[in-house]
Amino acid sequence: MPASAAKLRLAETVKEADLVIDGVTMRFETREGAITAVDDMSFSVERGEFVSIIGPSGCGKSTVFNILGGLVRGYEGKVSVGGDVISGPHPSIGMVFQEESTFPWRTVLDNVAFPLEVKGVRKAERHEAARHFIDMVGLNGFEQRYPAELSGGMRQRVAIARTLVFEPKILLMDEPFAALDEQTRLLLGDKVLKIQETLKQTTLLITHNITEAVQLSDRVIIMTFRPGKVKRIVDIRLPRPRTGDVVGSEAFGRHVAEIWNDLREEASRGMAESEAGARRRKG
């Protein structure tokens, strides 16, 4: 049973863990009845570890993300961050959202400086910090632009820099590159990898892209479709520090095939169900 396997792992690593999610279940009431978006999920992420959650669209990934971020309540189970059981957003967590989340009325510089601004950091100081992280995501020269003047990928990098500027100990990212083309995605993935290897944050990345998950992670958590459970946790045994070249290696290909094998079943079930749902709504 995958869930109990996850619990076992939890028991071993609980002292080192930065993020622990323990028996979390979340139901939503909808017009078509209650749906269980997340069902008894348990896993943990150790300090400095890079973990990805992968699963088909609609399997509950964003729900897990919002729960970990403290943005939703009303779930069963327990979530602890850095040892504290949370009941709201935890200050050591930084979040990068799936949807567009830059502020259109702020320049890149003021977008990135935002978290420091609201905490009362002086202008000169927060701008200096913002410049550092703008540089880190490769957007120097665009400080005075507004988001509408940037490409989607650049806006997502602004969002990442805005989260990093706060120097969160734990970084949560919900499909940050989902809207990007494959090349940009790989390059940005490289960037994130470098940043994480320098800053050593505990990172949880949510994705539905297998290549991305394997390229970046120490472990990949595969989720089932409806209800969302932990199906399997795969250890990625690729050397670090990793570069973009790792994508071409044989071990990489083996991991991708292994994960795809697990995921295919869930994805096709997800697709069948959403098609059936669409027919029901039409009929």
């Binding site: 919002n66 971020g69 403290g70 943005l71 709201g88 957003p89 200050p91 967590i93 930084g94 979040m95 959202f97 799936q98 949807e99 567009e100 989340s101 502020f103 259109p104 009325w105 702020r106 320049t107 935002f114 978290p115 601004e117 609201v118 905490k119 507004y146 988001p147 509408a148 805005r162 706060f166």
Partner: protein, 251 residues
């Protein structure tokens, strides 16, 4: 056809000039009736007379300041009420349909009531403009705040912003484009009613002058005064646009 290099303002003026020229020609040829439409040249010619004999400048200032007062009131009170309805959901549920009904009502017909309350004064005129323009500002403010993207709100929550930071740093700026749509609509209603009431109660600036001139059958004068009414609204809307760009840069 490429018109690059010519400023849009010049093209606008050229178009207006052209249309006026054509109207003049049609009137002179007798294809349009001069008893219904005055000659554009006569309208232009009447400006001097209006300034000299009808105190056009004073009237322009009077209507202008009434319009300004009504605009400020409509914006400030309308936005505040919209925010209040947003913050107190139960109030919104209770009153939103009524506000929408008021928005559609011909408020100008209530002018006798305002006359009784405020007398035949600038206060009546400003109050009528204010009441007429209020509803769309409230409704659009509420709509704008309700429609703020969830992801922007979540960014604020994830940084544990205080409720006032959450409002002033995220919700309000995000809602500004929609709020300004409401303010623009509200000001259109306010201006129409303002001039209309000046006309109806024969008091105040440009509206009263239009009334006088119409009774004297001075068509050229009427049209010339209407040009100045338009001028007032152009100035107000230009100021509004400035303000929006200042409050909400970056589109």
């Amino acid at each position: 056809m490429r018109l690059a290099g010519i400023p849009p303002l010049a093209i606008g003026f050229a178009t207006v000039g052209l249309v006026l020229g054509v109207v003049e020609l049609l009137l002179l040829l007798g294809l349009l009736n001069q008893f219904v439409i005055p000659l554009p040249s006569a309208v232009l010619g009447s400006f001097g007379r209006l300034f000299a004999e009808e105190q056009l400048l004073e009237r322009l200032m009077m209507t202008g300041s009434e319009a300004l007062a009504a605009s400020v009131l409509v914006s400030v009170v309308g936005i505040s009420l919209g925010v209040l309805l947003y913050k107190v959901r139960i109030l919104a549920l209770a009153t939103e349909p009524w506000v929408a009904a008021v928005a559609a009502a011909p408020v100008v017909l209530a002018y006798p009531l305002f006359l009784v309350i405020f007398g035949r004064s600038a206060a009546t005129i400003i109050a009528m403009g204010f009441v007429a323009g209020l509803a769309p500002v409230i409704l659009k403010t509420l709509e704008g705040l309700k429609g703020v993207r969830k992801s922007l709100i979540n960014v604020g929550l994830s940084y544990n912003l205080t409720p006032s930071q959450q409002f002033w740093k995220i919700e309000f700026p995000a809602a500004i484009p929609t709020i300004f749509v409401g303010v623009r609509l509200g000001l259109v209603f306010a201006l129409i009613n303002l001039i209309g009431v000046e006309f109806l109660i024969n008091f105040g600036g440009l509206g009263q002058l239009i009334n006088d001139l119409a009774e004297r059958y001075d068509l050229a004068g009427v049209f010339a005064t209407i040009v100045f009414v338009i001028l007032v609204s152009v100035v107000i809307f230009a100021a509004l646009e400035r303000m929006e760009r200042w409050l909400r840069p970056g589109r």
